[in-house]
């Protein structure tokens, strides 16, 4: 970072303290929290709709793959335990992604709603961070709701009290990862391309994220294993699987945390760059 540049010769400098607004002590943090409060209020008002929106897809996946196929004998009895952690990961990542991508596309191009927040007294990048944090909250709720649903549909879910905290941390990481991917989609994809982009991105994302299969078992489909390794969701699925069903072969849990965290940093940097480009010209 360079030091603030010297003013050009002849350019006058302000004297005395800058004129202050009515609430000069108000920090950017509190503005960020006020924006978060607005988002929480709006989501809270339509919480049942939000829940229906986020749990329907994992619920059906769980029911058909975990319950129906197993009962019909097409899937092995242990498959439920492999599938459940993967679907928790799927709910976290996908909900996080959808909670940033679509709103950003709409707010930047059609509604311009984001302008009032970009004109609030906080750095532009903080508006993007707030979006990601809020989307991750939605992702976390969606992932957490999978637990009671799992108990309801499957009768029981793999669970160990000793890894509960680590599971929660991985769910947070997964939600943030999804939100960061959505930040990239929402700021780089032009609005007229968002439909096709969603179709081209979401389906591969859902089916290469090791959600429905343990990654190490792909040894004999090498190319698909490589493709899956590129999907950030794989490390969330595998991490949760390792913590909830350690007996199933999985990528080392510590490696899942590290790779997921690295992915998060990289995706956030790319997303923030795109957000700044859209917000300022």
């Amino acid at each position: 970072m360079s030091a603030p540049s010297e003013p050009a010769a002849g350019v006058p400098q302000s004297v005395g303290p800058p004129t202050v607004g009515p609430v000069a002590h108000w920090g950017p943090w509190r503005t960020g929290l006020a924006i978060l409060r607005r988002d929480l209020m709006v989501t809270g008002r339509e919480f049942p709709i939000f829940l229906a929106q986020v749990i329907l897809q994992p619920l059906f996946l769980l029911f058909v793959f975990g319950k129906v196929l197993t009962e019909l004998g097409y899937a092995q009895p242990g498959y439920q335990e492999v599938l459940f952690p993967g679907l928790v990961a799927l709910a976290a990542v996908l909900t996080g992604l959808q909670s940033t991508a679509l709103p950003l596309v709409i707010e930047f191009s059609y509604s311009n709603e984001i302008e009032d927040r970009l004109l609030a007294p906080l750095p532009v990048g903080a508006v993007a961070v707030e979006k990601v944090v809020f989307a991750a909250m939605r992702g976390f709720v969606a992932a957490a709701v999978m637990f009671p649903i799992g108990v309801w549909i499957l009768g029981s879910i793999p669970w160990q009290a000793s890894t509960a905290v680590a599971v929660a941390v991985m769910m947070v990481l997964g939600s943030l990862l999804g939100a960061a991917m959505g930040l990239i989609l929402g700021t780089y994809v032009p609005p007229n391309r968002i439909n096709v982009t969603f179709a081209l991105v979401l389906t591969p994302l859902i089916f290469t994220g090791s959600s429905q299969y343990p990654w190490p078992s792909l040894d004999h489909i090498r190319w698909f294993q490589v493709v899956s390794a590129l999907n950030p969701m794989t490390y969330v699925s595998e991490g949760l699987r390792g913590l909830m069903v350690p007996s199933v072969p999985h990528i080392a849990t510590w490696a899942c945390f590290v790779v997921a965290a690295v992915y998060l940093v990289v995706l956030m940097l790319v997303g923030m760059y795109g957000f700044n480009r859209r917000a300022l010209s």
């Binding site: 800058p18 607004g21 006020a34």
Partner: protein, 332 residues
């Protein structure tokens, strides 16, 4: 040299040598614009679409980064301290950017909460602003259910919620019906009475002349003139004008007719204008003294070129004439 200068009045806005070139643009959108807005003043930016008005407002409101120069709002350098600048400025954009998920009243209240206005104050202020802007009867309605004029008023009320030192309005009356426009003008006049500094962009000369204490005329990113509307018009050195429209004859051309008209006694200047119908020739003749006696000589000159005079109007010069005089083309 202090920014606070020019007599006793404090500057609300100071812009010096402002340059903006957008990425991949072949030319500068602003080519070194400088001006000052005094506290409590209504300052009008007059110019056609694409002149650089919105770019200037965009830089002053921190949404566009300047390529060069300096812009200071209420003592805060907008490029060096954009967060600080956003505390002291209010923006009413060209397009509706109200929060559709919130009610009218919530739009005001949440905006104030982003700016740290205490809860009790913001509730009270929201109610009084809704009242003042004629929106008190449906505070819980969603923005989508209101007319363009009401939306515009909501956005002004929202911008006033954090008591900005300078209020920026970008083309506020574009798309409004005449009644809504008049209501808006009254409200801006009231803001001025209350001492708010207002910077307004417009391509409407009536709006600029009616509302502004001073008007800056801008075209192609360059500030062409800056003064009170009266001074700008008086600076035309001409009291009256004669507008002539004609059908061209089979021979003769527009330029030489213009020169011939300029040679008449009592004519100061002749500007050829775009004919709205697109078929004829149109001239604005600046006249010394009374224009009426010039009608007959003008008709003679026109007849000599074979053209046929179809319309003659006598008029006082206005801001549009100033604009035409400065740029050689009509405002719209």
């Amino acid at each position: 040299m202090p920014v606070v200068a020019s007599g006793e009045t404090t500057l609300a806005v100071e812009v010096r040598d402002l340059v903006k070139r957008y990425a991949k643009a072949p030319v500068d959108s602003l080519t070194g614009v400088s001006f000052q807005v005094k506290q409590g003043e209504v300052f009008g930016f007059l110019g056609p679409n694409g002149a650089g008005k919105s770019t200037t407002i965009g830089i002053l409101t921190t949404r566009i980064r300047p390529t060069g120069g300096r812009a200071v709002v209420a003592g805060v350098d907008v490029a060096a301290d954009p967060v600080g600048a956003r505390r002291v400025l209010g923006v009413v954009p060209q397009q509706n950017n109200l929060d559709r998920s919130l009610s009218v009243r919530q739009n005001l209240i949440y905006h104030a909460s982003y700016h740290g206005v205490p809860r009790a104050t913001r509730n009270q202020l929201a109610d009084s602003l809704l009242e003042q802007f004629g929106l008190a009867d449906r505070p819980d309605g969603r923005p989508d259910d209101f007319s363009g004029g009401q939306i515009q008023r909501m956005m002004i009320a929202r911008a006033l919620m954090h008591d900005p030192a300078v209020l920026f309005l970008d083309e506020p009356s574009t798309g409004l019906d005449p009644a809504a426009r008049l209501f808006l003008w009254e409200k801006i006049a009231e803001l001025k009475e209350a001492g708010t500094t207002v910077v307004i962009t417009t391509h409407d000369m009536d709006e600029a002349a009616t509302l502004s204490d001073r008007v800056a005329i801008i075209d192609h990113g360059t500030l062409l003139a800056l003064d009170t509307p009266q001074q700008l018009v008086q600076g035309m050195h001409s009291e009256r004008t004669l507008d002539c429209t004609m059908e061209p004859g089979p021979t003769g051309d527009a330029a030489s007719l213009g020169i011939a008209l300029g040679g008449l006694a009592g004519v100061r200047a002749v500007d050829q204008l775009d004919d709205p119908a697109g078929t004829g020739w149109r001239y604005r003749i600046d006249v010394d003294g009374e224009p009426a006696p010039l009608v007959a000589p003008v008709a003679t000159v026109v007849a000599e070129t074979g053209a046929k005079l179809t319309d003659v109007r006598l008029g006082e010069p206005n801001l549009e004439d100033v604009f035409i005089h400065l740029t050689g083309r009509a405002l719209r």
